[in-house]
């Protein structure tokens, strides 16, 4: 197991390097630059700005300098907000996105897994059709529709929760549900599919034949295997959730990472684009590794393969 983890960590280094390199050159070759504004900047000012951010050097030198700084953990200052370091902005926004992501994922799992189990156990009954229809509606209903809808019902009409902001636990409810319900729909469908497959397995039939009660059959025998598709899905889904959601942040005015991710590209904020992309890539790599470890724990076949 240690060898497995060590080799995956080693593999992460070239992966991150390739991502950093591709992102660096793609952003530089995109039309427009960080200092293009509607009010034309005099050439001499543009030269000063470029010099301040090191853009006056040859591109390859900039690239080498960036890699050198990256090795020291220095992501550089944001072009859009020159008073702030990229790492400082990520450190400020990430806890917000992490909180939102964890809450949304909890909601997704708490709703999605029981709904998927019930649907699988009561296949082709209303207990299957209802949650699966709702989950299909959840997948089809985009967050930019669901969010304002939840605000209208629970904030405007009932006055139960604040409509926006991120200042206290009450503010967390509506955005977490908006994001969580969307993922719950996927989780429910994946759980159902996984459970249906597992319930057909010989070892489950054996357990039943031996007289295990239905609760034990589900929790001790079927659930482990049934959740494998969900676990595979959870790695990238969780990375996506905790690296911020631009739409949810925009609807609920949440100071998360998603906004930086998207606006940095629009603003040609080169350092911010690189910082957020690398951060996201590192999260994906880390969470995929955790998923593999979790799968190994859940599935003996996967453990042997590793």
């Amino acid at each position: 197991m240690k060898k497995f983890v060590f080799s995956r960590v080693l593999q992460a280094v070239p992966t991150l390097w390739v991502i950093a390199t591709l992102t660096f050159f793609m952003t530089r070759y995109a039309p427009g630059g960080p200092f293009d504004t509607e009010k034309a900047i005099p050439q001499e000012i543009k030269v000063k700005l470029e010099s301040h951010f090191g853009l006056d050097r040859p591109l390859f030198d900039q690239y080498l300098l960036y890699l050198k700084n990256l090795l020291r953990g220095d992501l550089g200052p944001s072009f859009k907000y020159p008073g702030w370091e990229v790492s400082e902005l990520i450190a400020t926004a990430f806890p917000v996105s992490l909180t939102l992501g964890v809450l949304s994922l909890s909601i997704a799992l708490l709703i999605g897994i029981p709904a998927g189990i019930i649907a699988a156990l009561r296949k082709n009954t209303w207990l299957d059709y209802l949650p699966m229809s709702l989950s299909m509606a959840g997948i089809c209903l985009p967050t930019f529709v669901l969010g304002p809808l939840l605000i209208y019902i629970f904030s405007t009409q009932l006055g139960l929760f604040p409509p926006l902001g991120w200042y206290g636990p009450a503010d967390w409810v509506l955005p977490s549900f908006t994001l969580g319900l969307f993922y719950a729909a996927y989780v429910a469908r994946l759980t159902r599919a996984g459970m249906l497959e597992t319930l057909q397995q010989d070892y489950v039939r054996t357990a039943r034949a031996k007289g295990a009660n239905p609760w034990q059959v589900v929790t001790r025998h079927a659930l482990r295997g049934g959740l494998l598709p969900v676990v595979t899905y959870l790695g990238p889904a969780f990375a996506g959730l905790i690296s911020g959601s631009f739409i949810i942040e925009s609807i609920f005015f949440i100071p998360g990472l998603g906004k930086f991710f998207v606006t940095a590209a629009f603003n040609r904020d080169y350092t911010m684009v690189l910082g957020t992309v690398l951060f996201y890539a590192a999260l994906i790599i880390l969470l995929n590794l955790l998923v593999d470890l979790l799968q190994a724990w859940l599935d003996p076949k996967a453990r042997q393969a590793q």
Partner: protein, 551 residues
């Protein structure tokens, strides 16, 4: 059966505790809104629109930055809340000498920085020197070019001392300013944040004289001299300012603080307003006007705004290198129909480039609607070129539903009057800017908001070689009339020369003015002392909150 078993596991006590937690949580959620608590706290909750890029007045470039900096800093003069005319600020009085070429400002001795230091004439000289420092790379440094020899220093041709720039501290409380030539709107210009002072010891502490991006503008470091001081800055969340008790006119400041929320989405901002989270919004979605007019008739405000929405022609490429085509495109537009039927947000048709009434200047309307003449002009061009019809024209605009709506409406008008096919190209903002600045367009969208209330803020754009021109149009007569309008001390002479500029624009058609902006906003009735102004400036010391009177 399984589900029954699952629920069977719950103990009633757990369920009870859960219910109590939910009840407590929901109770906690239903707290009074910002607007409700604001009356007791005297805190104004302000929709800022966007997060400002800088809080350094010498590097700031946005409306959002102005809204914050005008709370934190005060220049030599301040603004009247209704007319925006200059009123005493840090300078308690001033003298105009040499027919407006020299000014002597007498600073009040009770003007203090928020750390207790006195605000002196030396602070202003230091600040002017800093923004003009070529190494700082300040985008708005040219706002100080009216200072004598400032351009020489700014362009790095001479040092500050060699250039003898026209800003001199006679003593701690007397500042002498010498201009290149008299500028009738000079005092109004001083209310632009580029003229605001900065606290020298703070900048020296952070080595910020010629460096951008130092942390001197962060809470705890920022030393201000305005009615408020910076207390909190959470990026993309809130910027909080609290009353500056050391401000010389603190007794007139009725608000205890302001919270600025950089909510970029207009829909989110509107929801925030309706939920009592904001006292006022930065803007309103055009699609929501009808609904808001009905639901919030007394809170939706259409206020004039000093800005022109227009299209640029590229005179360097056919067919717009020919005057007849440009003129035909202008004459084919029914601007009244555009604002009445398409925009519907209180905008007014732009029959001139400068909004009428800017600084008291009322140009003669010249961009008119005459589709028959438009057709004749185009036919004349087509027959000369041996063409049956114009090749498709590319219209470039930055991606936005509003710009698309205008472009589609104009496409319809041109197609109807001239039989021209228009291809609409929308581009992401930075790509758009890059494309336009390289001159790779035929017809492109643009907009301009005035920096000060004088026709010059609009007309200077079309000077030959001016960076904002981008049409390829040059006209020596225009440059001459603009220069005379800039420098003359006689209002009559200025207006005559500016009218010449307007006439030349309407003769040569390098641009296509379409409509004049309005500022659409939702404002809560408890906000008082807030007046519509052309620049959307609202000096905060006059603003207060007062409970609505019962009808």
């Amino acid at each position: 059966m399984c589900t029954v078993l699952i629920f069977h596991k719950f103990h009633p006590l757990i369920a009870l505790v859960g219910c109590l937690c939910v009840a407590w949580f929901v109770q906690g959620c239903s707290k009074p809104s910002n607007v409700e608590t604001a009356l007791n706290e005297n805190i104004l909750h302000f929709g800022l629109g966007a997060e400002p890029q800088h809080l350094d007045p010498h590097l700031a470039t946005s409306v959002a930055a102005h809204n914050i900096l005008s709370a934190l800093l005060e220049g030599l003069v301040s603004e009247h809340p209704e007319t925006l005319k200059p009123v005493p600020g840090v300078a308690q009085r001033w003298e105009k000498l040499e027919e407006g070429k020299t000014y002597l400002f007498y600073l009040r001795d009770n003007a203090l920085w928020s750390n207790g230091d006195p605000v002196t004439a030396h602070d202003f000289v230091y600040s002017f020197r800093r923004i003009l420092n070529p190494n700082l790379g300040a985008q708005y440094a040219s706002m100080l070019h009216p200072l004598k020899n400032a351009k020489l220093y700014h362009e790095g041709k001479k040092s500050w001392e060699e250039a003898n720039v026209g800003a001199e501290a006679i003593d701690n409380y007397t500042l002498k300013i010498t201009l290149e030539h008299p500028i009738p709107y000079f005092l109004e210009l001083l209310n632009h944040y580029s003229w605001f002072p900065v606290h020298r010891p703070t900048l020296e502490k952070f080595d910020a004289f010629e460096k951008m991006g130092t942390p001197w503008t962060k809470p705890g470091n920022f030393v201000s001299n305005g009615p408020f001081q910076l207390i909190e800055h959470q990026i993309n969340s809130v910027i909080a300012v609290g009353k500056n008790e050391g401000y010389w006119d603190a007794s007139s400041v009725r608000l205890e603080g302001i919270r600025f929320y950089p909510i970029e989405s207009v829909d989110t901002e509107e929801r925030a307003y309706r939920a009592g989270f904001l006292h006022l919004t930065q803007s309103v979605s055009a699609d929501r006007i009808d609904y808001l007019k009905e639901k919030y008739p007394d809170e939706l405000h259409f206020e004039p705004y000093l800005g022109t929405y227009f299209y640029r022609f590229n005179l360097k490429s056919p067919p717009f290198d020919d005057l007849r085509v440009r003129q035909a495109f202008s004459l084919a537009i029914d601007r009244q129909r555009l604002v009445d039927k398409v925009l519907k947000g209180g905008q007014t048709p732009a029959n001139t480039f400068t909004p009428p009434g800017t600084g008291g200047f009322y140009p003669q309307p010249q961009f008119i609607h005459d589709p028959k003449k438009a057709r004749r002009l185009l036919d004349s061009y087509l027959s000369e070129k041996g063409l049956e019809r114009l090749p498709p024209i590319e219209l470039t605009y930055n991606t936005s539903e509003g710009h698309k709506k205008v472009a589609e409406a104009l496409h319809g008008m041109w197609n109807e009057a001239l039989g021209v096919e228009i291809r609409l190209f929308n581009m992401e903002w930075k790509v758009f800017l890059s494309t336009i600045s390289k001159g790779e367009f035929s017809l492109a969208r643009a907009g301009w908001i005035g920096d000060y209330v004088d026709p010059h803020t609009f007309l200077h754009m079309w000077r030959s070689g001016e960076g904002l021109n981008m049409t390829g149009w040059t006209n020596a007569s225009y440059d001459k009339a603009l220069k005379l309008g800039e420098t003359s001390n006689s209002e009559k002479e200025r207006w005559e020369n500016f009218q010449v500029c307007e006439d030349l624009l309407a003769n040569d058609f390098p641009v296509l003015p379409l409509y004049f902006y309005v500022h659409l906003t939702l404002r809560h009735p408890t906000v008082r002392g807030w007046y519509p102004t052309l620049l959307d400036h609202h000096p905060y010391k006059y603003i207060y909150l007062q409970k609505e009177e019962a009808p």
